[in-house]
Amino acid sequence: MITPALRKPPSKQRRTAVQIETAILVGFLFGVSIYLVLMKSFVRILFGFVLLSNAANLFLLSMSGDPSGKNAPIIREGGLPVDPLPQALILTAIVISFGVTAYLVVLLYRLFLDQKTTSAAELFREETESENGGKR
């Protein structure tokens, strides 16, 4: 396994050069996803969470540093490879968030079936009216 990052002598400071466009994009995605998550409609909350995981994955990708002048991390390609470790992390993270998103979809669907509403504000409104009998 070629991991050039680990061959650096430990006394040097590590600086990850992140491209400015990526940084702005990540910030924008996070902002949009948090905004969506705080909305009332279930569908928008769902989209917000999906975008949130996308934003995090993009952030991880940017942690491998500036890709200009570097090649893909394939052995035969030669030249200076991009750091492949964050890409492995992203793969795992994508799979995990896929599972959680699936669960989230089904939970929201079940909430829709039970409460007959797709608005998150409605979910907890009846909660406050029947405090006593609601809890087991």
Binding site: M1, L60, L89, L107, G134
Partner: protein, 489 residues
């Protein structure tokens, strides 16, 4: 984990499946307890390179005394919850996926205790969280399912933040292996990203542990669980957050992050107070107990925040005490529901006359939680107080004392409501055959807790070794890098 898959294949809920589950957890507990005692006596660590790739290229599993203690506790809690579930209902009544999911949960929890790699910790956390989401809504009725949603949402955000923190950690440290990160602690102190990273990691696990002000998901979502599951969640899940905080702040991060430790101590203090005030406000047993988890977590956070070796020992001691006591208190709550038909303290009663044994057990555990000597809760609290006074944190110690008094008060609420109040019109359901074995189980847990309280000298030694070895970054690094494998650096 193999047992989880086995149980999954064995789909029909049957008695033999439960027996397999209990045997496995019993074995796990015994193995972990012996490992803990052995490791603490010899002050060593067990290191396993997964796939024989040596660190820092491969993923390492490390069991040091702290991890072994946590493993034995998780095994013990799972065992008692399984036994409780066996006595509580027939195999047909429970959901067929409950035991496999519980084992997946256990897998995630155990993996997060023993992993030596930050991203593996993320994976373990996700295993744990997804199993906990599924278990939460598995048997919840329609009215209660919506309480799972805040739990899900905040844990999703927490996971995303964890992922970001992994990325930043990779950028700061150059690897995600704990030992490798520990060996670089002195060099990374100048890196401006380090406070951000440490703060972010702390935030993630404060959410998981349930510290102020991020604990709002806990008191609403834990009561919807069936009793044995609720006991397991209450005992273990938040403690995983505390354990990871402990592990990261002592073994991985440089020890000089004083401002973060201060912040943690103050958050702990606030959690203590708010948790206990919340506990006093609820009037059904599980609600009170859920809020209690928060205030006790506050004690543990305070102990970590004080960050002296003795304070960390106090934290470990407190974790040991709290997991057992909290789980057994939840089981007591379940038995109260079983006997009285309801959770609501306004409608329970008459249990002291009916089952004095249950009353004594509850009393022991409740007083232990409040911190009465010589029960197990006292020693942890005493150490925290003495360390806090030594560090000069008078406000926090005062807050801890107030929280202790209010804990006693809220426990009194349960006592008066359920045990000393006159029996309700529906009467106490003594003809229900379930309460006898349940009470027996709870008494054995209370006995374990009593033994810890009376034999605390011995437990203290183990906890002290665990805390000291957790702080010993050089020893940890040496132990991990010693084990050679492919691609050795």
């Amino acid at each position: 984990m193999a047992s989880a898959i086995l149980l999954l294949l064995w789909r029909k809920p049957s008695k033999s499946r439960r027996i397999l589950g209990m045997v496995v957890t019993g074995f796990l507990t015994l193995a972990a307890v012996f490992t803990a005692i052995d490791l603490a006596a010899n002050a060593t660590r067990l290191v396993l390179n997964l796939g024989a790739w040596s660190a820092p290229l491969g993923i390492v599993l490390v069991i040091d005394p702290l991890a072994a203690i946590m493993l034995s506790l998780s095994g013990f809690t799972a065992l008692t919850c399984l036994i409780y579930a066996v006595f509580e209902g027939t195999p047909k009544a429970e959901h067929p996926l409950r035991i496999p999911l519980l084992f997946f949960l256990l897998t995630g929890i155990n993996l997060s205790f023993i992993t030596g790699d930050l991203f593996n910790l993320f994976v373990a956390f996700e295993i744990m969280l997804i199993s906990s989401y599924s278990l939460l809504t598995l048997e919840a009725d329609d009215r209660n399912v919506k309480h799972a949603f805040p739990y899900l949402a905040i844990n999703l955000v927490g996971s995303t933040l964890f992922l970001i923190a992994c990325g930043i950690a990779y950028s700061v440290f150059g690897s995600l292996n704990f030992a490798h990160m520990a060996s670089q602690s002195s060099q990374v102190l100048e890196n401006p990203l380090l406070p951000a990273l440490a703060g972010l990691l702390m935030l993630v696990f404060c959410v998981k542990a349930g510290l102020f002000p991020l604990y709002f998901w806990l008191p609403n979502s834990y009561p919807i669980l069936a009793t044995p599951l609720g006991a397991f969640y209450a005992g273990m899940l938040t403690k995983v957050g505390v354990y990871v905080l402990l592990r990261l702040l002592t073994t991985v991060m440089p020890h000089e992050l004083n401002y973060l430790h201060q912040l943690l101590a103050w958050m702990g203090g606030a959690t203590m107070i708010f948790g206990v005030i919340g506990a006093v406000s609820r009037h059904y047993v599980r609600g009170i107990l859920s809020f209690h988890i928060l205030s006790q977590i506050g004690y543990m956070a305070l102990a970590i925040g004080l960050f002296t070796p003795l304070a960390l020992t106090a934290c470990v001691l407190y974790i040991i005490h709290h997991i057992i006591v909290k789980a057994s208190l939840f089981l007591v709550g379940g038995t109260i529901t079983c006997l009285n038909g309801t959770d609501d303290l306004n409608r329970t009663g008459g249990l002291w006359k009916a089952t004095p044994v249950l009353g004594i057990c509850f009393l022991l555990q409740a007083l232990s939680l409040a911190g009465i000597p010589p029960l197990s809760g006292f020693w942890g609290k005493f150490l925290i107080f003495s360390e806090g006074l030594a560090a000069g944190e008078y406000v926090l110690v005062a807050a801890a004392l107030i929280a202790g008094i209010l804990t006693l008060y809220s426990m009194l609420k349960i006592w008066l409501g359920a045990f000393w109040a006159p029996a309700p019109e529906s009467g106490v359901r003594l003809d229900d055959p379930r309460w006898k074995p349940l009470t027996a189980l709870i008494s054995s847990m209370a006995l374990v807790s009593l033994a810890i309280g009376l034999g605390v000298e011995w437990v203290f030694r183990i906890a002290n070794t665990a805390a000291l070895m957790a702080m010993d970054q050089a020893g940890y690094t040496r132990a991990v890098f010693e084990v050679l494998g492919k691609g050795g650096l």
